[in-house]
Symmetry: C2
Subunit: 315 residues, 2 copies
C-alpha cells in the first residue's frame, strides 16, 4: 500500500538517523525566474542525497531474523552510499555492486561507510548479474534503489517534512531517475494537500518517463541514452510508473545546456553544491518560465555528490 | 571607541538588511580534526560575504546631508559588492574602484548592484590614486574596507550573533586580510565572554599580521606576496592591529596546499562553496591539530565569492 500513512510511519522510523534538511531561498533566482523558489536541500542530507531516507527506512524495516545476512544492492553511487551508512548504523553488513566508472567521490563514500564493494562493467545487465551472485553467496536481502516499497515510502518523507514546514507551496518539483523520489513525493503531497501540483523533471536526452507519462504506457529508455545527470540514468520502475500515472500532474524536460547553466547558478549564486541531477529542477523552470511564473514552488534539491572538477569543467 | 556597545548598536542598525546566517556542522570534518566545528556561514550572507555587515553599518550611519554625494571605495571585490548593495538599499550612489584582474564573478556582482565602477591596475597605489580622483570629482564619502570604525563594528556583528546562539564555544577563528573581521570579532567576543579564545588565520605566504603580532610592531607585507586567498592580500590596518594586539589570543598560519585541501573538503563534504580566504580557518586547524583537538570551535566562514572553475582546477 502506498498512502500517506506509510510515509508518516517511515518519517518516524528514520527520524533518529536523518537530517531535517533546511529550506533555502535566493532573491537572485527568484528575480531571474519570476517565481518564489524554495529549495529543500537534500544535498545536505547524510550521504549527500535524499537516497538516505529510503535506504534508512528499508534497512530499519528489515526483520531481525534477516539481519545476520546483511543487505545488498547495485548502484552507481547515491543509493549505494545510503545503504552502506544505513547498514552501518544498524550494525549489519552491506554488499554494494558499483559500475567501475562511478564518480570517485561516490566510490569513496561507499567504502568509507564500511560496505563491501564489488566493481563491475557499467551496463545494467552486468550489474544485475554481479548482484545475483552476491545474493546467492550471502543470503543478503536485496534493497532495490526505487522498486522497493520501503524505499519509496522513505523518499516521500522529504516532501512530507517540506509541506509540514511550508504550507503555502503551489507545487513541488522532483527529478526523475527510476521514479522513487517522484512517486514517494506524489503520495505525500496528494495525501496532505490534494490540490498542490506535483511536477517531475527529466533530462531531454533521457526522457523515458516523459514519453511513458504522455503515452500512458511504459516506453523503454534508448540504450544510447546519455546525460550529465548520472543520477537520472536509471530506467523508470514499474511501481513508480503506476504511482506517477495516478498522482503526478505533469513532467517537463530540460536540455543538457540548461541543466549545466542551472547547476552553475546554484553553485555561484546560492553557494551550495548540487548535482546536475538535482539542478534539473531549476532547469525546467528556466526553460518553461510561463508555466512556473508567480508560483510558490518547492524544489527537491535531491543531492550534491559530484566530482567537482568534472562538473566545473563544463562551466 | 571600540566596545561591545557599538557592535550591538550596529547589529540593530543593520538587522533589517542582513541575513542571520545559519551555523553548519559536519560529522566528517569533526572526525578528521578531533574537534567540534561550528561554521557560521557568511558565504550565505547577502553579496556572498561578511563584508556586507560592515558596509551596511557604514552606509546606514552616513549623515543625511552627505547622502546626495554617495559613497566610494576601492576593493578587489567583496567590500565593493557590499558597499554597492548597501548604497542601493539606502538609495544613494556608490563609486567602486576595482583592479582589472578582479574575479569575474566579483566584477559582475558590483555592476549588478548598480555601482559605478572604475577599473585600474592592480597595485594598491594605483587603486588609491584612482579613488582620490573620484572623491575629488564627486564629493562622495570614502568607506575604507577595514580602517573605518563603522565597518569594524559591523564585522563584529557576525561573532555577536554566533555567540548569542552558541554559548558553548571555546574559541572563535577568523581569517585576516586587513584585519577588520578579526578585530571586530575580538571586540565582540571579549566583550561578551572574556575567556573565549580568539584566533586569527593567515596564509603562510602572506603572513604580515602573524609577524606583526609576534614582534608587537607593524611588519609590512612583502610586495611579492602571493596566495590563493585573494581576499586576504590587503595589508594589515593600523586600527585593526592595535585591537588585535590587545584582544586576540594568537595567530596561526597555513600553507597554500592545506588551504586548497581545506577548500576542497568544505565543497565536497559540506556541499557549500567557500572562498579559500574563508577555508583558511579550517586549514589552520588541519595544520595544528594538537592545539585545536577536543575544542568547541566557532569558525567564521567569511565568504563564498570565487571563480568556481579557477578554484576547482586546483583540486
Amino acid at each position: 500500500m502506498f498512502t500517506l500513512k506509510e510515509i508518516k510511519e517511515a518519517a518516524i522510523r528514520i527520524s533518529p538517523y536523518i537530517k531535517n534538511t533546511p529550506v533555502f531561498t535566493s532573491s537572485t533566482l527568484n528575480k531571474m525566474t519570476g517565481a518564489n523558489l524554495y529549495f529543500k536541500c537534500e544535498n545536505f542530507q547524510k550521504t549527500g542525497s535524499f537516497k538516505f531516507r529510503g535506504a534508512c527506512n528499508a534497512v530499519f524495516s528489515l526483520p531481525s531474523d534477516k539481519m545476520q545476512y546483511g543487505v545488498a544492492t547495485h548502484s552507481s553511487g547515491n543509493h549505494g552510499a545510503a545503504i552502506a551508512l544505513a547498514a552501518q548504523l544498524r550494525g549489519i553488513k552491506a554488499y554494494i555492486v558499483m559500475p567501475k566508472n562511478s564518480a570517485e567521490v561516490k566510490k569513496l563514500a561507499v567504502s568509507e561507510y564500511g560496505a563491501i564493494i564489488t566493481f563491475c562493467e557499467s551496463s545494467l545487465d552486468k550489474r544485475k548479474i554481479a548482484l545475483e551472485e552476491i545474493l546467492d553467496q550471502t543470503g543478503a536481502t536485496m534493497i532495490h534503489a526505487y522498486e522497493n516499497e520501503q524505499v519509496i515510502d522513505g523518499q516521500g518523507t522529504a516532501a512530507l517534512e517540506f509541506l509540514l514546514e511550508n504550507g503555502n507551496l503551489d507545487m513541488i518539483i522532483a527529478p526523475i531517475g527510476g521514479g522513487g523520489l517522484l512517486s514517494g513525493t506524489a503520495i505525500a503531497v496528494k495525501g496532505l494537500f490534494p490540490h498542490t501540483i506535483v511536477i517531475g523533471a527529466e533530462p531531454e536526452t533521457a526522457n523515458d518517463t516523459y514519453l511513458s507519462f504522455k503515452s500512458k504506457k511504459m516506453v523503454l529508455a534508448a540504450s544510447s541514452t546519455n546525460t550529465i545527470c548520472d543520477g537520472l540514468l536509471a530506467p523508470l520502475g514499474k511501481t513508480a510508473f503506476s504511482i506517477i500515472l495516478n498522482h503526478v500532474d505533469d513532467i517537463y524536460t530540460a536540455s543538457e545546456q540548461t541543466i549545466i547553466y542551472a547547476t552553475r547558478l546554484i553553485w555561484e549564486r546560492m553557494k551550495i553544491i548540487a548535482e546536475p541531477s538535482a539542478a534539473i529542477t531549476l532547469a525546467i523552470i528556466l526553460e518553461h518560465t510561463q508555466f512556473f511564473k508567480n508560483k510558490n514552488i518547492g524544489i527537491l534539491l535531491s543531492g550534491g555528490n559530484v566530482d567537482i572538477k568534472t562538473i566545473a569543467h563544463y562551466f
